[in-house]
């Protein structure tokens, strides 16, 4: 027997299963990143001194991170445009926007890797100070989430796109769900960026 409401919405909730599922997962992610933000606050307020991200001994690059912020915001737009294209039954547009989203992910990770490399060159490691510890942990976990999203998006751009031919509505839903995850990853960065780099 088929599982009901995988594609069509259940009348009383108005939702299809995966949409509820992803929001629940995102709720748990809010608690995960929230725990790390809470840890950041506790460590910072408990410290006798806490360096500014821009301070020379820390050397975080605001320009690079600003570019990364723009990259991620742009990828968020292209992600939702990819979904909108599928709603308008334009598969070619979907592929274009999804490709851009994935490439933006590469750009983000590329800039991030460069940032990490410069830190390591200057002998700034997680163990150097609590600032770097929480910086690397927060951005590292976020980066892993970006990577995860890129893999999922890559699948849906590539082999997974076959489903558009067999079950277009279900495929569109999957892109919506993947999009919700991707927007969340963008949302976390929107908070990470000022907290780590600007304060």
């Amino acid at each position: 027997m088929e599982i009901p409401y995988t594609t069509e919405t259940r009348p009383d909730t108005g939702l299809y299963n995966a949409k509820l599922g992803i929001w629940l997962f995102l709720a748990s992610e809010v608690m995960l990143f929230g725990s790390l933000f809470s840890s950041y606050i506790l460590l910072r307020t408990g410290a006798p001194a806490w360096p500014h991200g821009r301070a020379p001994e820390i050397g975080l690059s605001v320009p690079l991170a600003t570019i990364n912020t723009m990259v991620l915001i742009a990828s968020s737009v292209t992600m939702v445009l990819a979904w909108a294209s599928l709603k308008l039954k334009d598969f070619a547009k979907y592929r274009m926007y999804m490709l851009f989203t994935i490439l933006a992910g590469f750009a983000f990770m590329g800039i991030k890797s460069y940032e990490y490399a410069t830190k390591f060159e200057h002998h700034h490691f997680p163990k150097t100070s609590t600032f770097f510890a929480i910086y690397f942990t927060l951005t590292g976990l976020h980066g892993l989430h970006v990577l995860g999203g890129m893999i999922v998006n890559g699948y849906f751009w590539g082999p997974g796109a076959k489903m558009w031919k067999t079950d277009p509505e279900r495929f569109t839903n999957r892109i919506e769900v993947a999009g919700l995850y991707w927007h969340f990853v963008d949302l976390v960065w929107i908070f990470l960026f000022p907290v780590l780099y600007l304060l």
């Binding site: 909730t13 929001w23 709720a27 809470s38 968020s76 939702v80 927007h183 000022p194």
Partner: protein
């Protein structure tokens, strides 16, 4: 699925996406610019978080379709926000009323 599946509604949504994108870009520049002004730490944190929250709300409401979402999702999120606030109170619980360990 949703009542707004027709091409016209989608195209209007697309307009909203682009508007939000531009707003987010502008707000990002604003966040960076404001950070160069000298202000007490508390105020700097407040301003940065207010702008970030506004940006986040745009992403959530428009990109993530929350402004048109079903009640159930709202309730899940309200519950989450409540517990998130409790989680964020840990630093104060830990430090405000402490007698020995600091």
């Amino acid at each position: 699925m949703s009542a707004h599946d027709d091409p016209e509604s989608i195209r209007r949504e697309v307009k909203a996406y682009i508007t939000v994108f531009v707003s987010l870009a502008v707000l990002t520049v604003l966040t960076v610019a404001v950070s160069y002004f000298h202000m007490p730490v508390g105020l700097a944190v407040l301003v940065a978080l207010v702008i970030a929250t506004f940006k986040g709300s745009l992403v959530a409401a428009v990109f993530m379709h929350l402004r048109a979402e079903k009640k159930l999702i709202y309730w899940v999120l309200v519950l989450t926000v409540i517990f998130f606030i409790v989680l964020m109170s840990i630093p104060s619980i830990s430090q405000w009323d402490q007698r020995m360990l600091r």
